[in-house]
Symmetry: C2
Subunit: 402 residues, 2 copies
Amino acid sequence: MRNISTILIALFVVTSGVAQEALWGGQAIISPEINEDKSVTFRLNAPLAEKVEVTGDFLPRKIIKSNTGEYDIPGTAVLVKNNKGVWEFTTPEPLTSELYSYSFNVDGQRTLDPANVFMIRDVATVTSVFIVGGGQADLYKVNDVPHGTVARRWYDSPTLKEQRRITIYTPPGYENSKETYPVFYLLHGSGGDEEAWIALGRTAQIMDNLIAQGKAIPMIVVMPNGHTQNPAAPGETHRDYHPAMGGGPREAVASMEDSFGDIIKFVESNYRVDKSKAKRAVAGLSMGGMHSAAISAQYPNTFDYIGIFSAPPIASMRSRNDEERSKYADEFLKKLQVQKQNGYKLYWIACGDTDFLYQGVIDSMKKMDEIGFSYTYRESDGGHIWKNWRIYLSEFAPMLFK
Amino acid sequence: MRNISTILIALFVVTSGVAQEALWGGQAIISPEINEDKSVTFRLNAPLAEKVEVTGDFLPRKIIKSNTGEYDIPGTAVLVKNNKGVWEFTTPEPLTSELYSYSFNVDGQRTLDPANVFMIRDVATVTSVFIVGGGQADLYKVNDVPHGTVARRWYDSPTLKEQRRITIYTPPGYENSKETYPVFYLLHGSGGDEEAWIALGRTAQIMDNLIAQGKAIPMIVVMPNGHTQNPAAPGETHRDYHPAMGGGPREAVASMEDSFGDIIKFVESNYRVDKSKAKRAVAGLSMGGMHSAAISAQYPNTFDYIGIFSAPPIASMRSRNDEERSKYADEFLKKLQVQKQNGYKLYWIACGDTDFLYQGVIDSMKKMDEIGFSYTYRESDGGHIWKNWRIYLSEFAPMLFK
């Protein structure tokens, strides 16, 4: 029996040296450590490094200037090396409850935190993340509550002439129920794909928690890919994928708005859903907000609930000059008139007060005021960031289908 | 309209500077580049670095020695800097068709390839990956074929007294069919979780492609989490998760074998499945192979197809000394006698000829020979690596349910 004994010991030992399988790192270092006072300590074992910085959204933001304006970006902090070669930084203040993203910069090279198992991919970049609980971000945690199902499926889009990947959340109990459910279509921004709302958006956790708390009613959340030139996220498509907005290896056959009917048809023929206007919602962030405005206008008697997060409702992604933009706005206002006549229960516009799209949102609302198109406006702190989009989702979902 | 014009330009520009949203990196560098002769070039823009290496499973392996034996680990190659600060390395030979993993090492610090959007997480480590086509690895690609659905669900385990996360592949057409399907339970190794087979194992792609080619029949593939002390993968559990085999914040309430009935019950009450022995298979790699042997023995008239990849069938993960191991083997052989009497269609054992568990596999088969327990043995090149487990899955799945 000596061999099997050796086997079992070896099974514990060998894996750490095998890079292909890339098993647990065997880090003795704890990073990040959320201290009792809610300050957070970051540590990196890098004895050979000359300079280690951490960059993340928990640090005071810096202003950078470009030829299109001023933008604030996450700040950096310098770690200090101890005599064992471990670099360390502790935030000077406690952090408020939030999901934070960060990475290290070692002698100019970006790296993840090797001691932290929590990572989220956003298009082409993986970032280390952590959650400080005790407030809003408790909604973003996996809690010990009933969990819905997250399915990655493929639907046929006759308009786009191909199969496309789609992420669908069904609430706890869906599979063992005979009831019909309302549907919430939730659209990502220009830098995202069908994984964005599930990953950084924490949609499954937010919905699980809101439903468990009785704040939102059980609903299906449908998260398609809004880049019609790509069938799926990077790594999930048979075509070469160039992860840049408007990029990709081919021109889009049709727009998100023009092809959206294929998604509704797929959902309504594959899930037990209530097919009435009162049980359909559409919302999105940034480009997805523009899509939501355009879709709800183009299918003017289809959605009772519309959410526009951090985007001007009256804006075209495709107009190339002032004349085209003006024409788009005029036509869009006519569609809004029709939408107004058909009626809806909630048209919810949310934007951060330092968002670079803020003025566009204000201008759009002014135009809507002129035609007496009613909406609810929610202004938050901050800019064009996931922190706001998670908050908007947390606030929007409880208002739906009631 | 000037504002909206500015908005749309800004939407293209701002994102690259915003680390929190971590959008596309704007890399002009192509890496890895698969050249026409199937050699591969790696590039990294790191003008300040003093030394850049690439480590990956496409490089000749190195032998390292530890007190438990000799192990071969992936090799490294040194990149050379050009006058623009871009480091480069081209493999001296063409690479055979395979899914390869790699990372860079910049002045001693591990980093992903920032120019490559293809990444796979394996427990706590994210690795850059690429596929060289034109052979076996065409099965690992997302091809333009009908795609199944991959769902992350939670099942209730009364034995383990909690909800647990599980990954389930349903084949193309499942949702719109009224037929029943066979079920293949596919178990990960000690360093994995319920994401392992889907990520590095490429199960969804392999099954989609084998089914499209008519080589495998449509089946449901069930991928549970084999660490019974953890309910889910890191980032997906409400408990602290320490990603190490046998680790975790608590002792397991019960073993994988003892709690496996909960999984079968969940699958058979939630999916349209054929509940006969002829339509059930179980297989796994390494620890999951031991689990598959133990499960098929403990439920001795339940599975017609058993696959043991890179693991000795007769080995206990829990025996602590020779006496316990000997007792386990004796009891296990009695169970195999029962399994033999009940009958089965395929008992498939596969192992690489340099696998550190090789001798244990040989010893187990010798014991099985002694009691006339029949099996099929497949020996491949190589060691305890995902390359082999993808090959074994590609070969095992076509033999099922026929």
